[in-house]
Symmetry: C2
Subunit: 168 residues, 2 copies
DNA sequence: TCTTTCTTTCAAATATTTTTGAAACTTCGA
DNA sequence: TCGAAGTTTCAAAAATATTTGAAAGAAAGA
């Protein structure tokens, strides 16, 4: 397979993949493009390669920077900004976990806290079904939260090597 | 807080939460409703409580059944079908991981396999950037695949207890 | 077989999300 | 301060995804 074709296919697939994960297609495609580019790219190069508008490129690049997945690079002698993505997938995964934990898991746990005690007879089966489920989810959420924290802190090899040993 | 109000809030939040995870809002809301209902519900009860159409209810219930998150129940003396959700969140999480692994991670790994060798000079920096990234992602994907397999097989306490010990 | 009750389907309508592109804004050197 | 080069914004348009509801289909009892 030719390089250009392989790149195209990777970008398209990464885009589709991302869209199942709450990340929009263009954002995932820009990320994919930067992942497979040897050098940093300018906004114009990104626009051209993905055939997207300036506004769209700008918006999604900014969002990728917010997520900590892309960095702005200033090249000497260049007025324009260039962009680059961290190529280390383990760091990328940790970064995504960190952000989603903050944006989704933590608010959910906070909500469950508020919902765990409802008025009414604790023996009523409807009250019981509700509070049981809330406690169950909260317990699970707290465990997940801790586990992810540790994953974020862990070093790549140390984490994986030990996890593998544990499960062999 | 009153039970009805708490239920409403949980359903709304679970729906919003789900939509960040590639699950549509209604599907997540039906799941939430079944999670907090003491008894199985009929399609009509679901339609009424969530104020959605018959077609919408039917489609999303079917999808939840496909995902293995909801079961069809036949009640004696009742012509209609009833539906119930597994209340054990650990099992729910395992089920979701299992499905998404099959639907998303495995096809991605298969694709990366095809993309790892491209024609051209291995020393060319563009070729190198591409193949390095592909190998990196594939390696990560395979490790994630194994880890998730083990999680799926693991028993709740055993898994978490050991993971906690490992990280202390 | 016929009727009733319940379930499924799917084309059209609605709602939501994403994208465009032109105008406003910013930065920087002359 | 001005103008050129680049960046950001955002309302309107386009693309996608979801929902509706009516019609068709299935199952079961009379």
């Amino acid at each position: 397979m030719k390089l250009a074709e392989a790149k195209q296919q990777f970008i398209a697939s990464w885009g589709a993949f991302g869209s199942h994960w709450g990340i929009n297609r263009t954002m995932a495609q820009i990320h994919a493009l930067l992942l497979v580019s040897a050098d940093p790219l300018s906004a114009d190069e990104i626009m051209e390669q993905l055939e997207i508008s300036r506004g769209n490129a700008n918006m999604n690049i900014r969002e990728l920077i917010n997520w900590g997945l892309v960095d702005r690079i200033l090249m000497q002698g260049e007025r324009r900004e260039f962009f680059t993505a961290d190529k280390d997938i383990w760091r990328v995964a940790k970064q995504i976990v960190k952000e989603r934990k903050k944006r989704e898991l933590e608010p959910m746990i906070k909500l469950l806290d508020q919902l765990t005690d409802v008025e009414g007879d604790k023996k009523d089966k409807d009250v019981k079904a509700f509070t049981d489920t809330m406690q169950n989810i909260k317990k699970f959420g707290l465990q997940a939260d801790k586990t992810l924290d540790m994953m974020i802190k862990a070093e790549e090899n140390w984490f994986l090597t030990n996890l593998m040993k544990l499960f062999k």
